[in-house]
Amino acid sequence: MIRLDNISKAYEAVQALSDISISFPRSKTTIIAGADGAGKSTIFRIILGLEKADSGKIYINEDEVRKDFSKITRISGFMPERFSLYTDLTVEENLDFFADINNVPFKRRESLKIRLLENTGMINFRNRRAGALSGGMKQKLSLSSILLSSPELIFLDEPTTGVDPLSRIEFFRIIDMLKEEGKTIVISTPYLDEAENGDHIIFLKNGRIIKKGDIAELKRNVPFRLWRILPKGNIFELIKKLKGKNSEGENFFIKGKYLNFIGKHGDGALDHIDAIEISEQKPALEDIYMYYESEEVKGDAGL
């Protein structure tokens, strides 16, 4: 429903986004994954009209948006990276304020508010000031303030940064519920373990798309294999040995007691090594990201 076509944006000397073309599939969760400064927030800000793109076009339902971003904001909810509600207002006052300025009819608001507070387990905190809430609660409050105006599109900019692990797990449970209701959700995150919760992914680095696609499909078509080795002797000795016969596209890294080996061609390199255990692993999104990222670097070098 929303489509970005060749969007570029620079801040002074920094190219925040270069030629970004993306769309968000309806009723799916799209993850925008990238480190700090990759351009995640800029994408949201441009879609919502909070920043102006230097070039490129934005469409909603194939209708180009030039000036009137209310076409988008009317049906969207946005949760900025930082907690942006009022810390000195209570949970309920915050919800009321955002319902007011978003013209949520009073009748619908009251029942919806109670339901949201109950669903998020905040009903007993309704009179507590937002500033006194835990990170996880703040995040749920921000989300609730968005949901009050029943948006079709939900944009969440790093919703889990600074949130404890347990609340993160809980958060994605709520996201799944929203998806069931048919909402289109876009989440940015620097954490690829979290990205596993999405349907669709966009890997972003330095304002450019490294790879995008359906997560299940990306995982089905991994162009490399991953093995986990528990070495018998010293792990560094093993690395030295492997480095000796390392060929194009092979890579390894230590993770705890294990040496992980990425091979493009097969496990030939692992013959004749001293290991207690060698097992092939299913690559996670992190491994997939690493692969495409290094491919891109190689591509650049070739130019």
């Binding site: 990238g34 480190a35 700090d36 400064g37 990759a38 835990s134 990170g135 996880g136 940064t161 600074g162 949130v163 404890d164 692990p165 347990l166 609340s167 797990i169 620097p190 954490y191 690829l192 373990d193 680095k205 330095n206 792990i235 560094f236 890294f253 230590i254 993770k255 705890g256 007691k257 992190e286 990201y289 690493m290 990222e293 290094s294």
Partner: protein
């Protein structure tokens, strides 16, 4: 007899009526990487600050290399290196000036400072050594911060959420750097709130509401608790702690 280089016994920290750390005991073995995991406000940073001698302990003991923190604060400090992704560097200074500053306060001679700068140039690109740190990508910032924390050549490194906001490749590379440090005998304490990251550690301690709820080697713990991942283990342990 333990070969713990840091021994923490019944450590308590109270801020007024609030108990940040509630009588925790654990050890850090010489030459190991200990992962310190917990939600925000679990007491991770408070514990690190007490080890650093930056805040006083309310009750209990911290013994570093056989010395008590209360009586040997200065000597212990000389053994410790500290880095946090958020606060370690001065954002307005460039990488070289930051390193010069930290080398200066560590009392390094001019020659040694110059050596350090030369080393830094090998680690990060010479072009960006003169750029304000605030304008560097997080991965580079992290490299510089780690470099700066190693200037006094500490035996023990305390890393407080060193990988927050860093891209996956940089994070993985960062851990490879950490293994290099382990290889040369450093002891490393790393805090994180990314569950998937604890698999990099030799041993983990999970803190929740000021209590230690899990301690052990990640792979063994998963087997022991009969769960599919550290994440599940964490969830179960937190639930149990909340009930108790």
């Amino acid at each position: 007899m333990s070969n713990n280089i840091i021994e923490i016994k019944n450590l308590v920290k109270k801020f007024g009526r609030f108990t940040a750390v509630n009588s925790i005991s654990f050890g850090i073995r010489e030459g190991e990487i200990l992962g310190f995991l917990g939600p925000n406000g679990a007491g991770k940073t408070t514990t690190i600050k007490m080890i650093m001698g930056l805040i006083n302990i309310t009750e209990g003991e911290i013994i570093v290399d056989g010395m008590d923190i209360v009586t040997h604060r200065k000597k212990i400090k000389d053994k410790l290196g500290y880095m946090s992704q958020k606060f370690s560097l001065y954002p307005k200074l460039n990488a070289r000036e930051n390193v010069e500053f930290f080398a200066g306060i560590s009392g390094l001679s001019r020659d040694k400072v110059n050596n350090k700068i030369a080393e830094l140039k090998e680690i990060i690109h010479p072009d960006i050594i003169e750029k304000s740190v605030e304008n560097l990508p997080p991965g580079i910032k992290q490299k510089v911060a780690l470099f700066a924390s190693l200037i006094p050549d500490p035996e023990i490194l305390l890393l407080d959420e060193p990988t927050s906001g860093v891209d996956p490749k940089m994070r993985r590379n960062f851990w490879q750097d950490i293994y290099e440090l382990k290889k040369i005998g450093k002891t490393i304490l790393v805090t994180t709130h990314n569950i998937d990251e604890v698999e990099y550690a030799d041993r983990i301690v999970i803190l929740h509401r000021g209590n230690i709820i899990v301690e052990g080697e990640p792979a063994n713990l998963v087997r022991e608790y009969d769960v599919d991942s550290v994440e599940t283990l964490f969830k179960e342990a937190v639930k149990k702690n909340e009930r108790d």
